[in-house]
Symmetry: C2
Subunit: 478 residues, 2 copies
């Protein structure tokens, strides 16, 4: 069955990008649709990606002092309602539990769409003194949002994520933590996923329900659409006031804590697919690839071939690489396509003639370049190639981002570039929500962020002509 | 606040074991009760234990070929009902989601109490040929069972676990996998948690809803009560028939798959507490302890003390140990109690006089033995002490298990031993469910398992006197 599914060509990106995406997700065996409407099954190849993402992010979190915890998955309705903006933002899209066993509940509970309210309820009891601060907690869990339209990884009723929730004595500390975690996300994206991002602040219209400020990393997909890939929120004392989270400071005065939250979800796997993939399938950056090298024995029934393949595999594994041998009874050509579909960074081909000549062929997934190397140089060559692929992929993604980032100084330019091009458009904005809403309504584009690196492109708002306050990245988004 | 909480003595084990357990759980800061009834907050010290358990188990799973996946958390009612015994076992204790956003659902869904039905539904679509077998999948997730009485780690409405679900071509393979995973659990308990277990098969009365056979590992707590610590189920073709999971074999004939499932939950943390703990709090086996060595600087304000502590810490960390320095402004005595409460295996005390003399004091948590060592020998001594503590703890737990395992050859002995003692009682059984039910009713003890290592203690059932078929471990259980 696997054979049949894979040899069928996938839709090309240029023909139908959305269909290409779905084809890749299915044929690289990352996800399967389930009979639970709007929910997905994450298959081994997809979950292994998430495990690698978790491991890398978790290590970076812990280096900054984060501790992991686990909160209940249910939120009683009265708890969800405690912060006004927050409940308005989330109540329309939660799943409600009304019965436990055979009995109706006294108070219905939702399955967490996010856990600010639970962390606040916990912090209220756990924080008394300045000595109890800061609290820098995180949890890895699944959350539920009752979406109508769903797409694998990008939008589903249940998804996996991490959510950090912190409490601090001062505003400065909370702001610093919000920015620190955004930088952790941005560095992770660049270094591990080979995805460059634009860092900035969301407009008030686009910020998180209950936040004072939301910071975001925005990545550009191959089709020129933006994907919000991680967010970090500064709550100020809003939640603390709603929940009564106070501490006694060094002068014995009661103060409200300052809070933040920040999260990255399985959605980021969608970014990996749409930034790096091509018409043959997935292309995985070596740093995140569950298998970095696949050895394909040629004429594997000939004496000594499988043995040599196994020998090379253990040498490479000992050198610290993630390696497999494909010794299935499929043809080499089929194995090649399959590994291309799965995005494995390097393929090593080795057959009887190669062994005799003491060499093998390495093929790069990203460039399809074929390299002949002496078997004795295999380890060293792979040790050089994997970081090379990683940095080449980042450079190509950076070039794509630069090529698809446009500037508009006038309303005419602004409309024209979105009519003709696909990508980010930098333009000045007056800061008025009304103006932002009209842009969305008329042009179907949204403000992605006010980047930290501000430029002054013109004096006036690109839409209404009033004096400009901020440069904004605009785009069409997933 | 932390100060005040910790210096209060905890209830002694002999006075009130249940209260001692609750005190330790709270004061070692493993868990907090939440305002979500029946659900707990797992705090950093508790979650770090779970992370270590996960890492160790996951590595062992993967060595046997297990792949991780993620299934939806919801089960539509019609799916839950597909297997008759299974729905009867679980339907009375599930949480029901009836509304998504503002609208009632067409079909209500429960939050998974376990995921057999979801895996079966997935396997039905994913398995066609013998080439697709075996499937050896596992997921780490949380599950919900609407319990009335709850206790931290031991029984809560939501808990964390792993659930493995496999599908095989033959009965032999499924039976072998069931046993293999039980052995993985038993080895993990002995080697990592220093907990000896009794391995055996559950009686039909006690087996999992829908299983042909359930295997279990049973551990004995300090108070002589049993804790079921992990189970592995062989389903035969029961679920496959209910869900229509068939594959084409090599002769092109349709066959049902043979399935298994197996799980270990956060409940195992309860076992760690109740097997190893003492009246000063938690005692953690080094292999699972998030912090293995705590360095306590004495007279830390004196010049050079904190510097030396930091130096020793980095030496020990470089040697591969998990080490912290407690440089808080608490008194050394308070720090000692706190680390005892948290169960940290080794404490290193180092003050100005020690530094001058080139030595320090090591204190073992398990035996409270104090050892003076030269600073130059610290790494080597700790490298010897940690495995020593690990094996001493296992030996003590084994001795406790042996001392509290009794034999009963007659009904009189059987009743007497349970009246006077607390522990496992080995006794012969006729194999009749009715007899087992009467024993439970009259004596409030349950069959824990029919151990793999069978003995013939007498010819007749200890209760009814009919010819005996099996030796059973009986006990009172959590």
């Amino acid at each position: 069955m696997a054979d049949k599914k894979l040899v069928e060509a996938i839709t090309s990106m240029s023909e139908d990008f959305a269909q290409w995406y779905t084809d890749v997700v299915k044929k690289a065996e990352l996800i399967d649709y389930s009979n639970v409407k709007g929910c997905m099954v994450i298959k081994p190849a997809g979950y292994a990606l998430w495990e690698n993402i978790q491991r890398e992010l978790d290590r970076r979190f812990k280096e900054t002092g984060v501790e992991n915890v686990y909160m209940p998955m249910f939120i009683p309705e009265s708890l969800l309602q405690r912060e006004k903006d927050h409940v308005e933002g989330f109540a329309p899209e939660v799943a409600w539990v009304t019965h436990g066993g055979l009995n109706p509940l006294q108070e219905r509970m939702c399955v967490r769409p996010t856990s600010e309210t639970l962390f606040c309820d916990f912090y209220k009891g756990d924080i008394q003194s300045y000595r109890d601060l800061p609290k820098v907690y995180n949890q890895w869990c699944s959350v539920v949002r009752w979406e109508k339209e769903t797409r694998p990884f990008l939008r589903s009723r249940e998804f996996l994520w991490q959510e950090g929730h912190t409490a601090h004595a001062t505003e400065e500390e909370a702001v610093a933590r919000t920015e620190q975690m955004l930088n952790v996300y941005a560095d992770f994206c660049a270094e591990v996923l080979a995805i460059p991002v634009v860092k900035g602040r969301k407009t008030d219209k686009e910020k998180f329900a209950g936040a004072v400020a939301t910071y975001t990393i925005e990545a550009l997909m191959h089709d020129g659409k933006a994907l919000q890939s991680g967010t970090s929120h500064n709550f100020g004392t809003g939640f603390a006031e709603a929940f009564g989270i106070q501490y006694t400071d060094k002068d014995n005065k009661l103060q409200y804590v300052h809070q933040t939250s920040w999260g990255v979800s399985t959605r980021i796997i969608g970014a990996i697919i749409m930034v790096h993939g091509d018409d043959s399938g997935l292309v995985l950056p070596p740093a995140i690839a569950p298998t970095q090298v696949m050895i394909v024995p040629i004429m594997q029934k000939k004496e000594g071939v499988l043995e040599k393949a196994a020998e090379l595999k253990s040498e490479l594994i000992n050198a610290g690489f993630r390696v497999k041998v494909d010794d299935s009874d499929k043809s080499p050509g089929f194995k090649f396509s399959e590994q291309e579909m799965r995005g494995i960074p390097l393929r090593v081909e080795v057959g009887p003639k190669d062994i005799e000549a003491g060499k093998c062929i390495i093929c790069r997934r990203d460039t399809r370049e074929k390299i002949e190397v002496a078997l004795s140089d295999l380890n060293d060559t792979i040790a050089k190639l994997l970081p090379q692929i990683q940095s080449d992929m980042l450079e190509r993604a950076k070039a794509h981002l630069a090529e698809h980032t446009y500037e508009a100084k006038t309303r005419e330019e602004f409309e024209q570039v979105f009519a003709e091009k696909s990508g980010f458009v930098k333009a000045m904005w007056c800061g008025e929500r009304e103006c932002e809403e009209k842009i969305k309504e008329e042009m179907s584009v949204t403000s992605r962020c006010m980047p930290f690196e501000q430029e002054c492109l013109s004096e006036n708002c690109v839409y209404c002509g009033k004096p400009a306050k901020k440069m904004v990245y605009w785009g069409r988004a997933y």
